[in-house]
Symmetry: C2
Subunit: 396 residues, 2 copies
């Protein structure tokens, strides 16, 4: 049978780096390519304790159909935490539970974009978001980055050029893949531009809780007085990813449409883990739990930076220096071919993600690669950085 | 701000019967309008037991990111069960875990339909599917039903007329909302037409395990030798709905696209409940558990039919007589206005779903309403049928 696949899906191919991600299931490979939290960060005992409470005290609530918007007590707790922790006042907005942050990104694009509409993103940007925009039929325009975030002049130029731009998608804090953070000045400038050109901002903040050094920079959403920002976050990095519980805070009119889109997409997010997140906040000190994760990732990141200083500097590999999150971004000297470097590294059992993965057209030439420090063990961090340096050294 | 919502979402309005569904949270209302399984059907103790095993023996597997296709051992068990129970041989197909059956419907439509393409459905049909098709920008063409299923002549006429038809969406077994089952002859005829006109069939079978009388009729998928059928089902009605675990079996080429669509939609289905479904099948006799649910629903359905025979026959309300599933379909005499009947019933604390809900244009005039028998208690079934008959009697 000749399957007449939809236009938006026909040309989306499985990523060229599928092989690299497959290698992550090989325990002998050092998985710098992962985006996974550390398994040491999962609060297994607390979750097991809460699980017993759920099956004993509220099994029907946890197992019967729930409402699409999400479990009301959890929504209230999220709003309170956003207010206290990130100064996000969601009065004129609506908070909704999502099946992971990814669903928040996907449904926001579905609700806003017609085929051919433009989503403006950072360059590079999160592959899961880029592919979601494509799968919704949107065209992606990527704007060059500077050390303190997206280039404001180029962003305005793109907004002038693309009248059908609907969304500016940003990861301002501990950017994926760069590991860098957008300055307060640029956050304010982006919001001014979004308002001026009538385009919403989708602020993706999955890592915001994971700052381990430096000063907090307010979220864009925290100074959004005109209901321009859809704010998206998740419990994936602070409790566990496989529970698939995220959330968005969106202007009421957009939130109303996202509820309809979610209802026909998965009806509602699994109730058991919504209740568990709610009970976790109620019964345990989630701030204390997050602090443990911060210390864990700080140590891993500083260890990695230390190894890179020792090994990468002499082979001219540059690297960013994150204040939080899961990733840092390395750039090879011009004489090293990235594709070959990635392949040689994988042959030596170190997996990294080539930079092209984070571009709308992944065939574009890149000299950079993403490295994750949350997932590998300390030993793997030391060994892995050493191997990457050895591979680069062969070019010297 | 003037939000420029996408064309496909701008005109989708919250259902006119939202108020009725809201009434379901009122415990004093008899919830014939629900689509919920009976809470007595939830295997709480078994799930609690398995939960302990998961947190003790495989916490990282349950909490870390998983692959989009789903948990491999569960997929194998689903394939085996489909083969043994429904004679579905998925050799040239791919089985994928979905976040509930709804996601299977939604992503199949997303993968197949451009804006303006046609999905052909039964008339009436499942509201969640109709709204998903609309939210994907598809146009819906509904085909009249006969007592043994969709009208084959009208279906062929629609296929001739709509060259851009991409999907024939069917609920052949224990239809929602009708409660009726498509004959074997028509199942074969539909497959012949689908092949002839190059349109895939989306066979939705959430209730297939719930037959409590009459002979099994093979699924359309079981005699699909040409990879025409996407088969969609769920654990919602045999374990619990809020766990959000469903599955599809689809021709490889379509499955490959659905994997991409799912990856950008919710990355993967929550791992904990995938593992739980797998362990449930492995450690317990799921056939025995399902048999208990069948007996429970048989008793409820027969009780309701008995009450209807006593009360509805004299007020000329007609009703279908299901052999399984959750629903039956009642039709008022012409002189009774459905909208008013539904309102008067709700005033007397009985909620039913007006027939227009199951039409692509819910403003169309209908004389029918859907009744659920799985969720209400026996007492509520007796009282509720009695109240509906009283409301009808006032028109006599």
């Amino acid at each position: 049978m000749d399957y007449r696949i939809s236009d938006k899906m026909i040309n989306i191919k499985p990523s060229a780096i599928r092989e690299i991600f497959k290698s992550l299931t090989d325990p002998t490979v050092i998985a710098f390519a992962a985006g996974n939290p550390s398994p040491d960060a999962f609060p297994v005992e607390k979750m097991s304790e809460l699980s017993e409470i759920i099956y004993e005290k509220m099994p029907v609530l946890a197992l019967q159909y729930g409402i699409t918007e999400g479990y009301a007590p959890l929504i209230e707790k999220i709003k309170t935490r956003l207010k206290n922790r990130f100064n996000i006042d969601s009065k004129s907005d609506s908070a909704l539970i999502m099946s992971g942050g990814q669903q928040g990104i996907d449904l926001t694009c579905k609700v806003m974009c017609n085929p051919g509409d433009v989503v403006i993103c950072e360059r590079p940007s999160f592959i899961g978001a880029l592919n979601s925009f494509k799968a919704n039929g949107a065209n992606i325009v990527q704007i060059d980055m500077e050390s303190d975030g997206i280039c404001i002049e180029k962003l305005e130029k793109a907004l002038i050029e693309h009248k059908n731009a609907k969304i500016i998608y940003l990861i301002p804090t501990f950017h994926n893949p760069l590991g860098t953070t957008m300055s307060l000045e640029k956050r304010k400038a982006v919001l001014v531009l979004a308002k001026k050109y009538g385009v919403i901002i989708l602020e993706d903040n999955p890592y915001g809780e994971l700052r381990f050094r430096g000063e907090e920079i307010p979220t864009i959403k925290s100074f959004d007085k005109d209901d321009i920002v859809v704010y998206c976050s998740t419990f994936s990095k602070i409790i566990a990813p496989a529970i698939r519980v995220g959330f968005i805070v969106a202007p009421q009119e957009i939130a109303n449409k996202i509820v309809v889109a979610k209802q026909v997409n998965d009806v509602h997010t699994n109730m058991y883990f919504q209740i568990m997140c709610d009970l976790f906040i109620e019964k345990f000190n989630i701030g204390e739990h997050i602090e443990k994760i911060r210390v864990l990732y700080k140590n891993k990141c500083l260890l990695m930076l230390d190894e890179m200083r020792k090994k990468f500097d002499k082979v001219n590999i540059k690297y960013t220096s994150p204040d939080g999150g899961l990733f840092l971004w390395c750039t090879l000297p011009d004489n090293i071919d990235l594709t070959r470097f990635v392949k040689l590294s994988l042959d030596k059992k170190v997996a990294v993600v080539p930079g092209g993965t984070f571009l709308a057209d992944e065939r574009e030439i890149s000299h950079s690669f993403r490295v994750n420090y949350s997932f590998p063990t300390d030993e793997q961090i030391i060994t892995g950085v050493n191997i990457l340096a050895q591979v680069a050294e062969e070019y010297m």
